[in-house]
């Protein structure tokens, strides 16, 4: 079965990113596929490579990047939510004349249509957040 996941909450806020991650892992271990993970609202903060959590703590951002690399998962950050919150990739850096970008490996910035499409293509859409 194909799952799509939407994360609406930032890392280290409550638990949405953790629940979504554990669900994704369990789904993959169960032989299912993750069609896409869409990060919306404060969920876009999951996609900054500049986060440096303590070494003895879970690394929420890096964990997503690793999962995406291992299982070829599409991690999409909502562009409108990202612009408001300062999540920037190379194209957005250029477009808005910023001095840096901060998108984490495995993430890409795109539009809300990606969430709609994921909801249509996947068998189940799982929402985690506030």
């Amino acid at each position: 079965m194909k799952f799509a996941i939407v994360v609406n909450e930032g890392p280290y806020t409550h638990q949405a990113s953790d629940s979504a991650y554990h669900f994704a892992r369990a789904a993959l271990e169960g032989g299912h596929a993750i069609y896409r993970v869409f990060f919306y609202h404060d969920g876009v903060h999951n996609g900054t490579r500049l986060a440096s959590p303590p070494q003895d703590e879970r690394d929420v951002v890096n964990r997503w990047s690793k999962l995406a690399a291992e299982h070829d998962i599409d991690l999409v950050v909502c562009v409108a939510a990202a612009q408001r919150r300062g999540i920037v990739d190379a194209a957005e850096k250029k477009r808005h004349a910023k001095d840096a970008d901060n998108i984490a490996p495995g993430f890409r910035i795109s539009g809300l249509g990606q969430l709609i499409e994921a909801g249509i293509r996947a068998d189940r859409l799982m929402a985690f957040g506030d």
């Binding site: 079965m1 799952f3 609406n8 409550h14 638990q15 949405a16 629940s19 554990h22 669900f23 892992r25 369990a26 789904a27 271990e29 169960g30 299912h32 068998d123 189940r124 859409l125 799982m126 929402a127 985690f128 957040g129 506030d130």
Partner: protein, 101 residues
């Protein structure tokens, strides 16, 4: 059949109340994150939950109970404790999933 997930404590928000009010009989309800607080036997929401459970099947995530120091033995009778694998299985078994925040 629908799977409903509730991730907020009933002491904090009315997500569980809304879920119980709007979910069809025969639905499955999974308590995750702070939502697991609702399942405590003798808790303020036990009676409401037990009433809803007459027509709905209730589940709670074991890791979320453990993280909050809640003993599965102290839950309302009939609440099934599952792991994330069980969550995935539940999501595949139900036709759609509705999250209540």
């Amino acid at each position: 059949m629908l799977l409903h997930t509730v991730n907020k404590s009933p002491f904090e928000k009315n997500s569980l109340d809304t879920c119980l009010r709007l979910s069809a009989p025969g639905s499955c309800i999974l308590l995750i994150e702070d939502g697991v607080y609702a399942a405590l036997a003798g808790g303020a929401f036990a009676a409401q939950l037990q009433d809803g459970m007459r027509a709905r099947k209730l589940y709670a995530i074991d890791a979320d109970l453990q993280a909050r120091g809640l003993d599965p033995a102290g839950l309302i009778d009939g609440v099934e404790v599952i792991d994330y694998r069980g969550f995935v299985e539940l999501a595949t078994r139900c036709d759609q999933v509705q999250s209540w925040f």
